[in-house]
């Protein structure tokens, strides 16, 4: 867009960095990353609908090393985006908007997301790794 020299409101560069800023942009990054995950989810469902052969090919791709890395990254993104999304919903209900509360809830969200990620990663991958 042709934007001639126009005064910009001070944004990013003027504020001292806070961890809540990183958490905020991480919500968007994980959201966009999961949007690509929708493609994998639907492809997986379609392969299951197409039959045993197609499903075996899909699970071979998803179970390969790069496939597993992608799945782990989608799972991590899901855990963070879900927990931080609850934080956003609370804010929309005018809960936890105090600066101190928001900073604490950010750390709590990160801890809960990490715990959920480790537990789900174990449940999802360990039986599968053991299976032939």
């Amino acid at each position: 867009m042709s934007t001639p020299a126009r005064p910009l409101s001070p944004h990013l560069s003027i504020y001292r960095f806070m961890h809540t800023m990183a958490l905020s942009i991480l919500h968007r990054i994980t959201g966009v990353w999961m949007a690509f995950g929708c493609i994998a989810l639907v492809a997986w469902l379609c392969s299951a609908a197409a039959g045993e052969g197609a499903y075996a090919r899909a699970t071979a791709v998803l179970g390969s090393a790069p496939g597993r890395i992608l799945l782990l990254l989608w799972l991590a993104a899901f855990c963070y985006h879900f927990v931080n999304g609850l934080r956003h919903l609370a804010w929309d209900a005018l809960l936890g908007l105090e600066k101190r509360t928001a900073r604490i809830s950010g750390r709590v969200a990160l801890a809960v997301a990490l715990t959920a990620f480790l537990a789900l990663a174990y449940l999802l991958f360990c039986p599968w790794v053991a299976a032939p």
Partner: protein, 133 residues
């Protein structure tokens, strides 16, 4: 404003029909309502997957077709695709500045999510109806 053609539209007319002229509220609500729907649906799906032998086609399709699962899966796909579409739309609007590229990406985003929703629901229905006469 230099050598530009004179714009005969009033400021109001210039604003009407843009995203911010009333569509924002619907977008905001749809983003939250789909988020609320996903609060139970998404963990149900992920935890169920964690309990399934994912390499076993019969076990997976049986789970998809069991009980009310096709309904919940269709609702999950609807909420996920709508939520994802709305979210990515905002990211494109915020960070893409060329009007042509922005429009192209917005169309691609909306279209891709509709195709994913249709494909996902079709797959679930096909699995659910497979055992039926």
């Amino acid at each position: 404003m230099g050598g530009r053609a004179v714009n005969l539209r009033s400021p109001l007319a210039a604003v009407l029909g843009r995203g911010s002229s009333g569509h924002g509220v619907a977008h905001w609500w749809a983003q939250r309502v789909t988020a609320l729907a996903l609060v139970p649906l998404a963990p149900w799906f992920v935890v169920s997957l964690a309990g399934l032998p994912l390499g076993d086609h019969a076990a997976v399709t049986n789970w998809i077709a069991a009980g009310g699962h096709p309904v919940w899966l269709a609702l999950l796909l609807l909420a996920v695709c709508r939520h994802s579409s709305l979210g990515v739309q905002v990211v494109i609007e915020d960070y893409v500045h060329g009007p042509a590229l922005k429009l192209a990406l917005l169309l691609l985003n909306g279209g891709a999510h509709i195709v994913l929703l249709a494909g996902g629901v079709y797959a679930v229905l096909r699995i659910a109806l497979q055992g039926m006469p």
